[in-house]
Symmetry: C2
Subunit: 378 residues, 2 copies
């Protein structure tokens, strides 16, 4: 049986990138590797849509979030955390671990934080050092209007820090034009790489705040130290350099297509996936869905785990369950990264085949036809 | 030209491990991956010579050191840092970043901290929470007598924290018998993997200290959280799971040989390398050399960088220069990991060929013959 990885991270990795990972190991303190690192960071600037420097970290995406927060917000100071799911909660938890004051702006799972809520929170907390948002809330599939948040936050001294781990490279995200001060991502979602690398872009406004925050309690995630090393295209500690070398290969694929074209293609995939599942009578979970993944409510009375187990066991389709409170309630299909329209058809076709097995009547072919109509539209 | 990576990290990776890195990506929250992780951690216990749990971190080795220190030593409390080179200094720098009081026990580069110095420091600072040591000080090639340190520290409430990044898996290191409370290592040295993973073993004594240290300022490196996830063979954040899968392959190679046999083989390599270089009239830099790498003084008046550049350019041999104050003074040959006796002969042969080019007379064949006599001895 052919296996299809369609989870919202890790995602499939192109064959040429995997083969690059299998190449012999080189030394990292060389002109050769410095060139590779510099090239990867330049290419990433195109993906981030930024002219800000990008700092590479050998870590999960969460390491990038921690670096963003600990470098900019001193203990006791306020970070407004926009919480629309599990990854929004992570902001709050990181802030708590470092003794920051988290001002939580929470909406029910499946909803998105609205720009006017951000405006109100900033008005109520003019001393907030940062507003922490999530581009794609992977746990629920909602997307936030980061452009609107950016307009609001830019008028204040606060920094806009965005968790772009699962959205960046799939959804439109214009770091500079949208006034994102620190934008974080990980390698294993839309960037077509295995997990292990995080990247953080830092604006001039953010660097000023970071420079003033002298007592930041971190060593490994010290962004100032990393910036200094980058002057020589170097890193403070041995990086996961074979992954950075492989990352170059995936970035070439992304940039050959053009990041705006990727955004448009992902938008079409998301529309097609929604149309396909809705044609099967299923409901889309998020009120404001994003283009990186499609999150679908399980039919009434059916545990989504049952559907997912059958998809995997009988058809090799690996989609993801909900996390914690949403476990059993939803299933999540990723269309980020090295996924094409026919993979999405496969996922819809798989669900069409499985639904009757769990007692849900469907008209065979209706879901795939609806998706295909979106793909065929000009 | 054939390239030979003989630097003390990164080191060469076996072909079967590289090919494993090229295998398609799987999902990480599955029974399949949990089994892989559990197996890797069990195998690592054999390499660490410990029954303590081992915590995997997606990070450079330095991330492991930071995790060890920040979880166990509260701000304002004392950590005795044994400093015999650049990596000993890292302990001091991490302690400073977290507002701990570093009590520095420094010896000149090339020397080793002696057990009686540790005893005196603990007597002078009975309130020290930790003694931070380095198994193999990669910057100078010295090895520390961790067994002797362990006997001393075990009699006190302090924890013995050991940076085993470059030594563990090459030099004898008996974590439990030597009373090492937290032992840290990275993937890219003796463990035959690219960089990107760190591992930390934690003793019962250390867990008690960590549990009492409620206000540890860290999120990503929170060892208590990691331990909790490991109850389900899971990690708190998406790990570099394709690297963990590949790590399993390298560990099988190490355990097929047997870790005691690896130690003995590495000891022989180190003796052979020293004999070879000394036969060429060169001097070994460290007063107490270790078995993971051999560090050699450059001949008087010759910049080691000149020798190293010729070795690389003309013979494909990549050895390492000294770092910072030792740059130009020494060269470093690693024999850790996926390196065999003939690679060591190649390195000595290369140096034999290069020395006359920098004005140093040598008798061709004398170095390799001396090394070969060590290899041939029973």
């Amino acid at each position: 049986m052919k296996f299809r990885l369609l989870t919202p991270g890790p995602t499939p990795v192109p064959e040429e990138t995997l083969l690059e990972l299998a190449k012999p190991v080189i030394f990292h303190r060389t002109a050769e590797f410095r060139q590779i690192l510099a090239e990867v960071l330049r290419d990433l600037q195109q993906v981030f849509y930024t002219q800000n420097p990008i700092i590479p970290l050998t870590a999960s995406g969460t390491g990038g979030l921690e670096a963003a927060l600990v470098n900019s917000v001193p203990p006791g100071k306020k970070a407004i955390c926009l919480i629309a799911g599990k990854f929004g909660e992570r902001w709050k938890n990181i802030a708590a671990a470092y003794g920051m004051e988290a001002v939580n702006l929470t909406v029910p799972y499946g909803n998105a934080v609205q720009p006017e809520q951000v405006e109100q929170a900033l008005a109520a907390h003019p001393d907030a050092v940062a507003v922490c948002a999530t581009l794609s809330e992977t746990s629920t599939g909602i997307g936030h209007d980061i452009a609107a948040f950016g307009k609001i936050v830019a008028k204040t001294p606060a920094l806009l820090i965005v968790d772009g781990v699962s959205g960046l490279g799939a959804m439109e995200c214009r770091t500079d034009a949208w006034h994102i001060d620190i934008c974080c991502t990980g390698s294993q979602k839309a960037l077509m790489m295995p997990p292990g690398l995080a990247f953080v872009s830092v604006s001039a406004k953010a660097w000023k705040v970071i420079e003033q925050n002298q007592g930041a309690r971190t060593f490994y995630f010290d962004l100032k130290k990393a910036r200094k090393s980058l002057e020589q295209s170097d890193t403070p500690f041995t990086p996961a350099h074979t992954m950075i070398r492989a990352m170059r290969v995936s970035l070439k694929r992304i940039l050959a297509e053009g990041i705006e074209n990727v955004w448009a293609r992902q938008a079409k995939y998301a529309r097609a996936a929604r149309a396909g599942f809705q044609a099967l009578g299923l409901e889309i979970f998020p009120s404001q869905p994003n283009n990186a993944l499609t999150v679908v409510k399980s039919p009434p009375g059916v545990d989504s785990g049952t559907i997912l187990a059958k998809l995997e066991k009988n058809y090799g389709l690996k989609l993801a369950n909900g996390q914690e409170p949403l476990k059993g309630q939803i299933f999540r299909l990723s269309h980020m990264g090295y996924v094409d329209q026919f993979d999405i058809l496969a996922a819809i076709a798989g669900v069409e085949l499985v639904l009757p097995e769990v007692g849900v009547k469907v008209e065979a072919g209706k879901g795939v036809a609806a998706a295909q109509r979106v793909f065929a539209a000009r």
